[in-house]
Symmetry: C2
Subunit: 390 residues, 2 copies
């Protein structure tokens, strides 16, 4: 709640765009809390903040617990922030209990996870993992023409540490689910298995633009009517890939789009997801056949392969949930997270807790203190699986 | 083709917005041709042009043949113009044959039929028929802030004759069909029976805005999926009112309308038409039930009752088609026409001829010289049914 004051909105949410004044204030508060907990702070060239609690063994690679402090314009209090502050809570708990670990523990708060102000999302963890070039990332520009380099300097977070991967024993990220699965299943904790394969496509149906009054039904080439039949089939077709498949029509654009004209054209967006790349490719091929059979054009907008979290990461979270006695289930993550990039660097695990109604990227985003505590406990014990008690 | 030079577009169409310079040039040419044909010209307060060929009997109300010379921005050569010039052709033919009629014949070219520059459409025939107030009409403003009064004065067509109904024996309008029915039926002439009842509605479906990745199919409230099921039923339902019913979804607006978000809201426009007001009301009630059953909102945007042309008007056109030996069929008009307003003044009949592919309000609008001649001959003989040969 203290962190939620930075960028607080009248409706109880948070507007804390990356590298804004609100983000700077949140970062400053986070750094003060970490220093009070005895951590050593490092800022890298992308403004990523690393807070390190020393371990007993110098040769042991650190265990990282990470997430982000930036938000979307009408975001909630918990998206990202939960994971960063739970990691701090883990460190404070170890301090309070006077527990030492073999491996150091590093809390990471990544810059610009949301990608709303500067595209793409997860850019700074991406530079760290070697996916994006540093110069490319620093040059990314917001809608007012200011780039990440300038804004890092402006808020005092243009660090000198090189932004590149270093050895890590494991990476864990606690995050709200941002979906309704845990709540519906009555589970306290989600053990995230990975991120599904994603295809974004656009189906463009051509019709014959004509007058709604003077054109009888049997003489029309109406792309809306064609789309209705196609989508009815598509919603049926996707059933064979349930429960894991997702199929979403997010937008429909009719041209000219006026009440008394049969559209000459209709473009609909298709978002298809499934944990298996093979299944998503099969679904995409179905859409190619549908397009061909209907004389339509299918444009491929985006292809994102599936990501699997490593067995070590998943097992550590499973064991931790068991130790804590939390009811848990495996599930995929619908959204992207910094942890996805970190799979390229070290064994990685993710922990979800429920959010009310599955709502996220929404000022009404809400979690219970009990679920937050359970999630933080699972994070603690997952870290201890790897960092080893002394 | 000579008239089509005024406002000619590079793609072979016409841009002759009401009271534009191109409209003035077309009006001037029309007036010159009418005067050359011996007609007396009257301009009224709405800029309507009346060209009168005298009759033998002073007490006989004139027979009117009318249409319009203005066009939509990317219009064709024949919409409106055909009816005005065919009426002139009728007068010239009577002159050439030295035929006198009992009743005078008046050619009327109505101002601003299209309603594109100044809303509403058919405003000047509406003032004539007593539907719109003169001051309301003269004050209508285009998007640049210029009103009809100013523009009539600018182009020299602010006439002094009162714009109000006077006794007419009958009114006829020849027009292109603007739909594909005659072409599909292989008929030369359409005997227009009336204009159907129209309802414009908007169905607003509320959903739960949610992430396309993290929300399983069975936990969604997706307004697009709901709309697909509703529209599938609607297209089936409308079948019981064929062949006369028309049902068109011209626009679909999803919010927020992005590829990876299940829309929180979907609004779709509904255009329903049928010659029977009772049937359209029944269809509207079906939609109210659908809205209620789906927790949706149904907004009524526009109600237009059906208009029937009078038996005298229809019979005169039927007889004329028979005299000419033209293949003919009865049909409704999907679009509005000045003749619809004139039904309040006198017995009115309309004659359609085919246009290629049913295309209109389109630069590719096209008719054959044969069909134009047949239509003009039917117009001639319809006029003679009422005006009486001497």
């Amino acid at each position: 709640m203290a962190m939620a004051q930075f960028g607080a909105t009248p409706n109880g949410g948070v507007c804390r765009l990356a590298l804004s004044d609100a983000d700077k204030a949140a970062r400053d508060q986070f750094v003060r809390w970490c220093e009070a907990a005895g951590c050593a702070i490092t800022i890298d060239q992308m403004g990523n903040i690393f807070a390190r609690r020393a371990g007993k063994r110098v040769d042991s690679p650190p265990v990282m617990a990470c997430s982000h402090l930036d938000s979307v314009p009408t975001g909630g209090k918990f998206d990202g922030t939960l994971g960063v502050l739970a990691a701090l809570e883990v460190v404070e708990t170890l301090n309070d209990s006077q527990v030492a670990t073999d491996a150091p523990i590093v809390i990471a708060s990544w810059t610009n996870e949301e990608g709303v102000r500067f595209a793409p999302a997860m850019i700074a963890s991406g530079v760290f993992a070697g996916i994006f070039d540093l110069e490319f990332a620093l040059g990314r520009v917001d809608k007012d023409g200011r780039n990440i380099r300038q804004e890092l300097q402006r808020i005092g977070y243009a660090g000198t540490a090189e932004c590149q991967r270093w050895p890590l024993g494991a990476v864990f990220e606690l995050h709200i689910e941002q979906g309704p699965v845990l709540e519906a299943a009555g589970k306290q904790v989600g053990i995230v298995t990975g991120v599904p394969a994603i295809r974004w496509m656009r189906l463009v149906l051509e019709g014959q633009e004509a007058h709604a009054g003077s054109t009888p039904m049997h003489l029309r080439r109406d792309p809306v009517r064609a789309a209705v039949a196609i989508l009815q089939n598509a919603y049926d077709y996707i059933k064979r890939f349930l429960p894991d498949a997702r199929f979403t029509v997010g937008n429909l654009l009719a041209e000219p789009g006026v009440v008394n004209t049969i559209p000459g054209k209709l473009a609909i967006t298709l978002d298809v997801r499934h944990p298996s790349d093979k299944v998503v490719t099969e679904i995409e091929q179905w859409w190619h056949r549908v397009a061909r059979d209907n004389g339509a054009i299918l444009e491929k907008l985006w292809v994102s392969p599936s990501v699997q979290f490593s067995p070590e990461g998943i097992t550590a979270v499973e064991k931790a949930a068991n130790v804590v006695g939390a009811s848990a289930m495996h599930l995929g993550s619908g959204a992207g997270h910094d942890a996805v990039h970190l799979t390229r660097v070290a064994p990685t695990g993710m922990i979800f807790i429920p959010c009310k109604g599955g709502l996220s990227h929404n000022e009404a985003e809400s979690i219970t203190p009990q679920d937050a505590a359970t999630g933080a406990n699972v994070l603690l014990h997952a870290i201890l699986q790897v960092a080893q008690l002394v």
